[in-house]
Each structure stands twice: as structure tokens, then as C-alpha cells.
């Protein structure tokens, strides 16, 4: 058990170090996210009207598009350089490697998302850095990053994988998107119906993490 945690931690530290050394990949995802918030502001004219009804949707679509593309790269370099086969030789369960990947993606994405919340707070003059909202963002991100990390093992042999990944991931993520948008709206004081959206987010995060961890070994088995 302790050995598993140490192995997962080693993967997390290795990936974070690589992320830091190769900042260009994650920086371009972050710039993409920032630019899409600006594009939404021009498209929906978020400056003049009350932004609260539209803001949750704008934020979550941005998180999802940038997050799915960014975390979809997590096995790209590994499979290009053949280091993933070496990782699999380690005497731990592949699920441990999977959790390491998920946690490192989660940390990098949360940094990006909090920066985006800060940017949106400044742009739209609406306080977005609240404990409730950050909690919703964390749970929602766990929900989608566990699925996209699993789906990013899709072999590099597959043609057009960069296009295919969002096509595969987004339909599975619809419940998470609906729940996250409604929960975010509720925390901004928008009417969001009586359904327990945060509970649905938690259920989705647990479901995707457990399902992906169980299925991961059969995807990567050689």
C-alpha cells in the first residue's frame, strides 16, 4: 500500500517536472483557454448585460475544451519516446501509474483553471474565487480528467487522434457538464432548479475515477 502510494507519487513528481521543463505545451493550453474566454465575450457581448446567466456555461466550456486537449497529451510523449513500456515494467499495478497520471494532470489543470477564474473575476467584475466555486471546480475537474486521462492512452497508431479524443470524451462528459454549470450557477445566485447538482458532480467524479482505474490495466496491457 505504502509502496503503491510512493510509486504513484514518483509518477506525479516525474510528470510535474516534465510539465515544468516543457512549459510550452501547457502554456498553449492556458493561452487557448484565456483566448476562448475573450472570444466568448465578443460573441455574446458579455460586457454590457448581466453576465451571471451566461458565465457558468462560458467557464465550463472553456475548462472542458482546454482540459480535454491538454490532458489528452499525457500519454503522447510517453508513447512517442517509448518510455511508457518502461513504466509498465515497474513492479506495481498499472492502476497506480494511472492514478499518478491523473493527479499530475489534475494539479496542472487546477492551476490553469484558478488562473482563469481570476481572469474572469477581473474581466466580468464578478467574484469567482470563492470556496464553494473552487470546490465545484475541483470536483468537476476530477470527474473529467479521470476519463480523459484514460482515453488519452488511445494508441498513437490511431489516425487523427487529436480530433477523435474530444469526440469520444465529450458525450460521456455531458452529465458532468450539466451538473457543473448548474452548480456554478447556483453558487452565483442564479436559479438552477431543485436537483442536487453538487451530489451529481460527486457521483460522476467517483464513477469516472473508479471505472477508469479498473479498466486502465486492460487498455495498456501489451
Amino acid at each position: 500500500m505504502v509502496g503503491d502510494v510512493n510509486a504513484a507519487l514518483a509518477v506525479v513528481l516525474k510528470d510535474l517536472r516534465l510539465t515544468w521543463r516543457d512549459r510550452a505545451g501547457w502554456l498553449s493550453a492556458a493561452s487557448f483557454a484565456a483566448i476562448s474566454v475573450l472570444i466568448y465575450s465578443f460573441a455574446f457581448d458579455l460586457a454590457t448585460s448581466d453576465v451571471r446567466p451566461l458565465l457558468p456555461g462560458v467557464l465550463w466550456v472553456t475548462f472542458l475544451f482546454a482540459g480535454v486537449i491538454a490532458s489528452g497529451q499525457s500519454f503522447q510523449r510517453e508513447s512517442e519516446q517509448g518510455t511508457f513500456d518502461a513504466l509498465l515494467l515497474a513492479p506495481v499495478s498499472p492502476s497506480v501509474l494511472y492514478f499518478g497520471k491523473v493527479v499530475s494532470n489534475l494539479i496542472a489543470l487546477l492551476v490553469m483553471e484558478v488562473a482563469l477564474l481570476l481572469l474572469a473575476t477581473i474581466l466580468f467584475d464578478t467574484m469567482l474565487i470563492t470556496a464553494e466555486l473552487v470546490l465545484i471546480v475541483v470536483i468537476g475537474t476530477i470527474g473529467y480528467v479521470s476519463l480523459t486521462t484514460l482515453l488519452s492512452t488511445m494508441g498513437s497508431r490511431l489516425r487523427s487522434r487529436t480530433m477523435l479524443l474530444p469526440v469520444l470524451a465529450l458525450p460521456l462528459l455531458v452529465p458532468m457538464l450539466i451538473a457543473a454549470v448548474r452548480a456554478t450557477g447556483a453558487s452565483l445566485g442564479e436559479p438552477s432548479g431543485s436537483a442536487p447538482w453538487t451530489l451529481l458532480l460527486v457521483v460522476f467524479a467517483l464513477w469516472s475515477a473508479a471505472g477508469a482505474a479498473l479498466l486502465f490495466p486492460s487498455v495498456v496491457e501489451r
Binding site: L150, P171, P175, L200, F204
Partner: protein, 257 residues
């Protein structure tokens, strides 16, 4: 004379062998049973839906589209359940024949999902006044259509005998199937407009005339048979594709110096 340890035992036949022998015998009957039975049931459905079933008072002749719409919806759930089971069996046994079954059933499921959406839109335009609306059932059916189209897309970007892609697609199909209850729950909380089910309401009588009910049951039987037949056909086509591909690979290996 042979040492006791070297005696050739007759292969042991457990209950599992008996079961697979029985299944093989049932499967061998497919061409004798499925086409004639499906043909008769489809004829009965067409005659029933167009002639026998009474004209509905409010919706008129248009209501007859229900006799194809509701059975198609049942058919895609059956097909996607088969994809789910075949994907689990592929991961468990590593037998590529289950990949052929999963692909065959997914193709047929996507076909019937499309048919359900199309017949629903044709009915919805005059009755609801719109082709499409973001109702819970419509939305979840559309999401299923997208998930399984994605499955077919992912599976078709690679060689039919590529086991790694087959396993990846199987994992995607399993996740997609397990996602269905969450999708249905979330979009139901999101909104609901679709007519409530009026056929199976526990022990109550269905809220429609007996003739309509019988015709609808005939339609369900006919479409389910048609689904099974299509899945068998698609599966065998996928099997042939796999064998052609491995023959081609074998020829390439032999011709290479």
C-alpha cells in the same frame, strides 16, 4: 503399458462445455430460424400497424408511427446491451470474435438509434410543432447516438485485427454503457417533455385499446428479431473481414524475403 500419470484421459466435460455446446447448436440454427420468423413478424407488424390498429382520435393516422418508433427504441437498448456484454467478454477472454460481435451490435444499435430519432422528429413536427426539442429522452438518445458513433469511429481508424485498439474500444463501450443511467438522470433533472410510458405500468392495464397494444407487442417482437438477425449478419461480416485481413498479412509475411 503406461505409467499412471501418462494415461490419456478423455477430455473432461463440465457443465460449461455442455452449455457452450448447447449455445453452438442454437447458433447453428440461425439461418433456418431468424429470416423466416423475422419475415413473418415484420409482415404481421406492417399489416397490424396500417390496417388492424384503430385510428387514434387526436393524432389521427400519424399515431401509427408509434408502432415503429417504440420498438426501435427497445432495439437499440438491446443492441447496446449486447455491445456491453461482448466488450466485457473481449476483455475477459481476449478472443477477437467478441470484438466482431461488439462492432456488429454497435452498428445495428446506431442504425436503430438513428431510426428512433428520425421517426420521433417526423412525429414531433405536427404534434409538438417542432422537429427537435431538448426533452430528457430525446437528449439522452442523442447522446447515446454520439457515444456509439464515436465507438465505431475509434474502432474503424485502425486495423480490424488490432487487439490494442479493440481493447481500447471495448473499454470505451463499457464506460459508455455504464454512463447511461447517469446521463438519463442528469438530463431528466435538466428537463422533461416526452410522453410518459403508457405500456408497462406495473400491474395496471395499458392506457390504450387492446388492438393497439397487441399490434405494438407484435412490432416489438418483429423489430427485436430483425435486430438479432442484423447483428448476426454484421458480426459474420466483421469475422470475414478479420479473416481476410489475417490472410493478407500471412501472404505479406510469406512474400517478404
Amino acid at each position: 503399458m503406461s505409467a499412471p500419470g501418462h494415461a490419456i484421459d478423455p477430455p473432461r466435460r463440465g457443465p460449461r462445455d455442455a452449455l457452450s455446446a448447447l449455445l453452438a447448436r442454437v447458433y447453428a440454427l440461425r439461418w433456418d430460424v431468424l429470416p423466416p420468423l423475422t419475415g413473418v413478424a415484420m409482415m404481421a407488424m406492417i399489416v397490424g400497424a396500417l390496417i388492424v390498429a384503430p385510428r387514434e382520435l387526436i393524432e389521427g393516422e400519424l399515431q401509427r408511427i408509434m408502432y415503429i418508433h417504440v420498438p426501435s427504441a427497445n432495439a437499440f437498448y438491446l443492441a447496446f446491451f449486447i455491445v456491453f456484454v461482448a466488450s466485457l467478454l473481449l476483455l475477459w477472454t481476449r478472443d477477437m470474435r467478441w470484438d466482431a460481435v461488439a462492432r456488429g451490435a454497435a452498428t445495428v444499435g446506431v442504425l436503430f438509434t438513428g431510426l428512433t430519432l428520425a421517426t420521433g422528429a417526423i412525429w414531433g413536427k405536427p404534434i409538438w410543432g417542432v422537429w427537435w426539442t431538448w426533452d430528457a429522452r430525446l437528449t439522452s438518445t442523442l447522446i447515446l447516438f454520439l457515444i456509439y458513433s464515436g465507438y465505431l469511429l475509434a474502432r474503424s481508424t485502425s486495423d480490424v485485427n488490432d487487439e490494442q485498439t479493440a481493447r481500447f474500444s471495448a473499454v470505451y463501450a463499457i464506460l459508455g454503457f455504464l454512463d447511461i443511467p447517469i446521463i438519463i438522470m442528469s438530463v431528466r433533472w435538466w428537463r422533461t417533455l416526452h410522453p410518459q410510458p403508457i405500456v408497462f405500468r406495473g400491474l395496471e392495464r395499458p392506457a390504450m385499446p387492446m388492438e393497439m397494444f397487441v399490434v405494438l407487442l407484435t412490432g416489438m417482437a418483429a423489430i427485436l428479431l430483425l435486430t438479432l438477425w442484423f447483428i448476426v449478419l454484421r458480426t459474420e461480416a466483421e469475422r470475414l473481414a478479420q479473416r481476410t485481413e489475417s490472410l493478407r498479412a500471412a501472404i505479406d509475411r510469406r512474400e517478404a524475403p
